[in-house]
Symmetry: C2
Subunit: 605 residues, 2 copies
């Protein structure tokens, strides 16, 4: 940051999902997680940062092995202790943020410890409090004085997030942490207005609002992720942990006008495509309410090449080979893997600690099972040349999407219907349903549910903010349909017909009764509108004054200035305060994923 | 120590077997281990000691729960960190003593830590290195800078013990640690002269030689304990961990002329008689080569009353009660337990943290099974009044000692034979055997072994230092006897007769052949005599100069001066250097437990 001197810039090394101890007993990959973490700590030292901010899942296991814990302690002691003074002054009440420490302070204020780089961390789902004593492994590090563990919730019936307020010169940082919490529970807490964020009490001052979370970001099904839109607009930047794909370059959420950076894991814990992206951590520089995030590529991460191939696309090539189908596929796969090993060499960084035997994953998608061969034996030929010989090739059957018998919604059509609504600012629920049936027409008839049920569901979701409506309705239909089938006992061929009968005959009134009985807790949407356009209760002057734009415009232009080429993304947080999204719009957007069918995911975050 | 000023006295708080985490999930007793440990740390602070010395088994589990580890860290951070300067100067090469630390130094020399009371610990059998990475929980504490973990062996084929050399003013302390090692393995290492203790290299200076071990001290069977006599005579004091009975008052080993103190556990882990002894830790004050150990009673240990009753001794009392035998015993036991609860009140110390609901164990020994009642139901009536309701009463059948068919030695007779030998300084093995048969006469005839076998065994044990002789001979006889029985297949009544036949017929020559074949590794005793009268190799001037008496006589009189009444035992290490024990004597003493039959023990050390 050229326009600010170093005494006023807070420099934060941002990393997440280090998964220490992942595959620690693997003779080849056993130390990969520690090697990458050590590089991160070395970067923190060489970049002379003021703090390290971790987004959870420091450990892979909720109860790390003594080996993992020992190595972690050793590394933290080696790199984060020392004489360098820490320039971050803590302005907030620390007892609110640090429970499990001796003095309830940041470690660098402990008179008995000499800290050079404080580490701040929330917990993830892998190191969340568990077992006897309900302790996280981070509690041990916290009590040892090695980590400042924050963002821990202690009450599952409501969330109150108190930021750590830090000052360095002219820059003031409000650091909000939300340690991992079950996505469904978090969704319920948001729905029920049980999430409170306490903003700094000094309205006249400028704060950079930085939040770190560890939740599903990708839509993994109803209530199984945290929609970005649920987070409040006063934030400047979200550090998103849990997702292992590196998306370190901050992405602007236009609806909320904040940036999200997703550093991704520092060690791949699944051989998925996302994990094969180049791994980075970030150097976040904050000056007043401006910030700049510089991605720092990790040099010690083991090369990993992922390729997914649909064998159907390579039939000509396969025909040219000799032998039966499996032999031809085997030979084809061998060539591909050999090529991938060559490509992996390009990922060598020259760092002396980088392990060079690569991870290779070739996903072969097939419809014809005769192509399948023994993948274990296949991998053995790469012993010593590939780090994961036991699972180099993964077969995946290409299945034509089977429509669910109980809920035959066309996802894309639903999305388009919603999008149209947003564009046109349409307010009527019925119209949404009409649009949906317009889209799907005859190609996706509802097999089980009556269209009235869908309308009811939509109504309750959108107008009554009853997040459980879809689930209840589907469950109700499934139960009733099974009852019906048990009574009629149709032959296999006649199941479809009998379900059609069921659909026609089933009384809609029963559904309404059921929904009214179960949906008593539904909250009317207008409460939502009163509270910051999201379901978060914001306390403090920021919430009250938000119409005034909080002076963010004063710091610079409203466009992003990319000071350095490619990787150096400068994020200017100035933004327009005018937003005319309708209440329905906001609600439908934040809810419209609730009844979309979930994607399968093979990742292990 | 009135004769020395505090600048020259090293004050050591001595404790062992804290078993942190013992029964931590027990709703009543869950925090007992932590409470006692906290009291010990408080004592260290209030007694203003220079260091805390722990004798192993700090934790109960080799992989402590996160709860235990967390509490331990919290306590150590709270009580052992601070501004008080540590007065102990380390003179030895620290890299030899501290492997798993960042700087390979004592924690108080780490520039990034502010230690007020250094804790030194060996590992016990409960916290020995185990699992992936072969780490002890003490390694974690060591790497965290919380404990100075020493006395760890890294090579199982030989032991080399390097003392930590500490100086405070005029006093120099050589601290030898031997972390727990399997007793049988340790016995073998001693037998094979694989134990080396490196004494300080400055012969002209005075050292106080303090050793801490964690082994069976009580004779728990052949090769299943560490005979005190195996430790070298140049030591002044042994801190003996592992044994849970508190025998804190130093006991002089007259043969080796050193003292042994056995602090015992700070929490009972079994409801045995030994654990019901009043628990203490010790304040060891060292001035030059003199020391004084002040037992400090623990005030926060839960009251525990143990009583063992043989029902046969109370038949009159039982007869007076009503109902059947079980009902009468039940009623009798209830009265006893009620009385024990009253007695337990006397063990209340008034310390606010002492848990007052007592542990009660009534052991009922019986021969007549009709006295037995349901002990679970019995305990329930003491819910809330006794901490261990599930096992208040323990029935134990009194079994007449069944003579082993394979080895019918009379232990007491054997002991008396040995004692006589020692007194008279007898040198002939045959005489020992004669004495034995003199003692046992007809009451304990050997059923299986020929008396020649016993003589052979004794010869090999004593003269040839073949520690395996007894085992080999017994094993050999057992195998042969079983072969014989399998051939003759006697009826149940005739087994004894057939064994008598076997004994008479079996050829002694076969035994000799077998022993010569197996005993090739036996070491002639004269090597032993050359090496410090024990099987320890002592390196350094102390060993060379030991004939000169090392000036110990200069410090005071040769009698123990008990400066304070009762508990304050002053140990003066001055001793006569003249000892005329014969080689045979020393060897037989150190070996004479090898073939005594082991006692059963229900303790859980």
């Amino acid at each position: 940051m050229a326009d600010a001197d170093s005494d006023n810039v807070i420099r934060v090394l941002v990393a997440t999902d280090n998964h220490l101890g992942y595959a620690e007993k693997d003779p080849v990959r056993g130390t990969d997680s520690f090697t990458a973490f050590e590089e991160i700590l070395e970067l923190a030292v060489s970049e002379d940062v003021d703090m390290i901010l971790l987004g959870g899942d420091l450990f892979h296991d909720s109860v790390p092995s003594q080996n993992s814990m020992h190595r972690c302690i050793e590394l933290l002691r080696r790199y984060t202790f020392g004489d360098k003074p820490v320039s971050l002054e803590v302005l907030s009440d620390q007892t609110l943020s640090f429970h499990n420490t001796i003095n309830q302070t940041v470690n660098y204020e402990d008179p008995n410890l000499n800290i050079s780089i404080p580490v701040f961390s929330i917990h993830g789902n892998h190191d969340d409090p568990s077992g006897f004593g309900r302790l996280s492994s981070l509690d041990l590090l916290s009590t040892s004085g090695l980590v400042n563990y924050f963002g821990r919730w202690t009450d599952l019936t409501k969330l109150e997030i108190n930021p750590i307020l830090l000052r360095k010169g002219e820059t003031q940082l409000a650091l909000y942490g939300l340690s991992h919490i079950n996505d469904a529970r978090l969704t319920r807490l948001f729905r029920d207005f049980k999430v409170t964020m306490n903003c700094p009490g000094t309205a006249e001052e400028e704060w950079f609002h930085l939040m770190v979370v560890h939740q599903n970001r990708a839509d993994r099904g109803p209530k199984n992720y945290l929609p970005e839109e649920l987070l409040p607009a006063f934030l400047h930047m979200i550090i998103w942990g849990h997702e292992h794909d590196c998306r370190i370059v901050p992405e602007l959420n236009v609806k909320r006008d904040f940036y999200v950076t997703q550093p991704g894991s520092s060690v791949p814990t699944s051989l998925s495509e996302g994990e094969s992206l180049k791994k980075h951590v970030g150097l976040l520089e904050i000056y007043k309410t401006k910030c700049q995030l510089k991605p720092l590529p990790l040099q010690t991460v083991r090369p990993f090449i992922f390729e997914a191939i649909n064998l159907a696309d390579y039939e000509e090539e396969l025909e040219l080979k000799e032998g039966d189908a499996a032999t031809r596929a085997y030979s084809f796969a061998r060539e591909r893997v050999e090529a991938m090993i060559v490509r992996a060499m390009e990922l060598r960084t020259g760092h002396p600690k980088q392990p060079i035997v690569p991870l290779i994953r070739l996903r072969l998608m097939f419809t014809d099972e005769s192509y399948m061969f023994n993948t274990i034996r296949f991998g053995q030929m790469f012993e010593g040349r590939v780090a994961n010989v036991s699972d180099v090739v993964q077969f995946k059957k290409v299945v034509k999407k089977v429509k669910s018998d109980t809920l035959a919604l066309d996802k894309e059509a639903m999305k388009r219907a919603f999008e149209k609504m947003e564009v046109e600012n349409t307010a009527r629920v019925e119209e949404l349903v009409d649009r949906y049936f317009d889209e799907v027409k005859d190609k996706n008839p509802l097999k089980l549910m009556h269209s009235k049920a869908l309308a009811e569901m939509t109504y309750r979701l959108v107008e009554r903010v009853d997040g459980n409506a879809a689930e209840n309705i589907v469950k109700f239909y499934r139960e009733k349909a099974i009852e019906h089938l048990m009574e009629t006992l149709p032959s296999d061929e006649n199941v479809d017909n009998e379900l059609a009968n069921f659909r026609t005959r089933y009384k809609h009134d029963d559904l309404l009764k059921m929904l009214d009985a179960r949906g008593a807790q539904a909250v009317p949407l207008k409460c939502n509108a009163l509270k910051n356009e999201s379901n978060i209760i914001v306390k403090g002057p920021t919430a009250v004054n938000r119409g005034r734009g909080r002076g963010r415009g004063a710091a610079g232009s409203s466009t992003s200035s990319r000071a350095k080429p490619q990787l150096n993304v400068s994020v200017n947080t100035t933004r327009s305060s005018g937003r005319n999204q309708s209440i329905l719009n906001a609600a439908s957007r934040s809810k419209n994923k609730v009844y979309l069918i979930s994607d399968e995911s093979d990742s292990d975050n």
